[in-house]
Amino acid sequence: MNWKTLIAATALGLVVSTPALAAREILNVSYDPTRELYEQFNKEFVKHWKAETGEPLTVRQSHGGAGKQTRAVIDGLEADVVTLALAYDIDAISEKTGKLPKDWQKRLPHNSAPYTSTIVFLVRKGNPKGLHDWDDLIKPGVEVITPNPKTSGGARWNYLAAWAFAQDKYGSEEKAKDYITKLFKQVPVLDSGARGSTTTFVQRGIGDVLLAWENEALLAINELGKGDFEIVVPSVSILAEPPVTLVDKNAQKHGTTDVAKAYLEYLYTPVGQEIAAKNYYRPTDPKIAKKYADAFPDVNLITVDDVFGGWQKAQKTHFNDGGVFDQIYKPSE
């Protein structure tokens, strides 16, 4: 480390009127599938911030299941920004702690989601069971791998995508429920988290199809077994918008509001969008999206708001205790 630069940087940091003397740090509390994305993005942002202001910065990162991470922030984990799987989770933080305003989702473009994703099928090489759409999954003898919607955020997306397909295809909620019941009868293992399911499918060799985030499926193909798996895009899927936001009161307390805001805004810049695309998230910037169009097949996407009337409602009807998901399973005699 060059001492002169360090001293200069510190001096500059003081001049730029940072309240803290020590190098500032911000904490980004996120969920599981964004690990690789933020590892890269943080490095870029720290470089950018240094170039822009001369201030050295540390970005701390915390990952885990989406629900668990949300609870940690509610119970006092002092995140400056949260980058979670669902608007529903951030709503819960706002509602239970008052640390950010209720209308947080309006503060950044695209419903505060800088990148999007969707649910696809990961099948074994050559697609031996010939699975092309959601209704193929309930054919006899097909084993479907998905995590448990009660404990995994990703699994809730899987479930809702399947439901939206069935409701559209079969025409009623009753029939959609039938379909979902049949679908989960084909599930031999309900892992507690999305990455657990990926491991079950890829490492343990269990199941014919894995329902997964597109970014997870692409990651699995590229990192875990090139040539062993294929992605199948169903006729309809769901638009997942993982939102990001500032946790106002925590950032105020740490004196990091400016940098935390800049951090989130940087996600929307071409640099941030490129990093998202390289980590298999669909960029929202049309230019970058065009550049990476080959990587992301066209899917007919529905949204939770359109089909389910929002996450609050979907959560209540389907996943809370006594909801539709609980009715699928009956006590064994």
Binding site: K68, R204, D321, D326
Partner: protein, 275 residues
């Protein structure tokens, strides 16, 4: 009642400190749990804890924990016996290995065991060919719980067995008892308190285990879903009170079972005229 042992000092100091520390670390936090559970009110509390899915999970959690503790009781005694009484090459290594289940993070244990007993694992493949499904079935839960509880019986019996005076056995033998009689009448009674302690601990540890089980159990509602997983899924809905209610039920069951085992141990000590 206390007069007999009053010669020994330190009653107030040792018990006072032990009680204070127990209160701070165990009792008060558990009281917070109980308070949170009770905040549901009687009717809702009962609805949560008597839900069929919850009941199925208790049966599984407690059944699997008891089975695993029994396996550990038998094999733990055997291992302790062999390690204390016999010498054989590699004994020290075997002895050192016994504590492994504590040091290995439970998630690693779960992953390793699932890899072994899964369909494409070293054990899982051959066993599945025989029609035995271990991973993603209740048997897998028993395997994981046996693994994590293994050190308890061995390590509670070992020091007691090492400390037993051989004169007793020699006396029994010189009075004409055969080896099996000596074991049953002389050795076993002396080992019972330690065995029970080990059993109680292995059981207690197994009941609440989460990290290793979620990997190997498959987590299917009503079939392979353990109570801690249900608690976890309540927390996912920010239902702290419901999670606490289930936690309180588990604690209550465990407390009663442990109390029974400890009472049994006390009784067996009394019968020997110790304690």
């Amino acid at each position: 009642m206390m007069s007999r042992n009053r010669v020994i000092p330190g009653f107030g100091l040792s018990l006072g400190y032990a009680t204070l520390y127990t209160s701070l670390i165990v009792f008060i936090p558990l009281a917070a749990l109980a308070a949170e559970g009770i905040s549901l009110g009687g009717e809702r509390f009962w609805a949560v804890v008597s839900h069929p899915q919850a009941v199925a999970s208790y049966t599984l959690s407690f059944g699997a924990a008891l089975t695993a503790a029994l396996i550990n009781l038998v094999f733990g005694l055997l291992v302790a016996w062999v390690l204390v009484r016999y010498s054989f090459p590699g004994k020290r290594i075997a002895d050192a290995l016994v504590d492994l289940p504590f040091a290995l993070p439970t998630a690693v244990a779960g992953i390793a065991l699932t890899a072994l007993y899964g369909r494409n694992g070293w054990f899982g493949g051959p066993l599945e060919a025989l029609g035995l499904k271990i991973a993603y079935a209740p048997a897998g839960i028993v395997v994981a719980l046996t693994f994590i509880g293994l050190p308890f019986v061995v390590r509670t019996v070992q020091p007691v067995l090492a400390g037993l005076e051989r004169e007793l056995e020699e006396a029994a033998a010189s009075l004409g008892a055969d080896r099996w009689q000596t074991f049953r009448r002389v050795l076993l009674p002396a080992l019972v308190p330690a065995l029970l302690t080990g059993f109680a601990l292995a059981f207690a540890r197994a009941v609440g285990e989460y990290g290793s089980v979620v990997f190997i159990s498959g987590n299917m509602p009503y079939r392979t879903e353990i109570t801690p997983l249900l608690i976890y899924s309540k927390l996912e809905q920010y239902d702290y009170a419901g999670a606490s209610a289930l936690g309180v039920m588990m604690l209550l069951f465990s407390f009663l079972l442990l109390l029974a085992i400890n009472a049994l141990q006390y009784w067996s000590l009394r019968r020997q005229g110790g304690g």
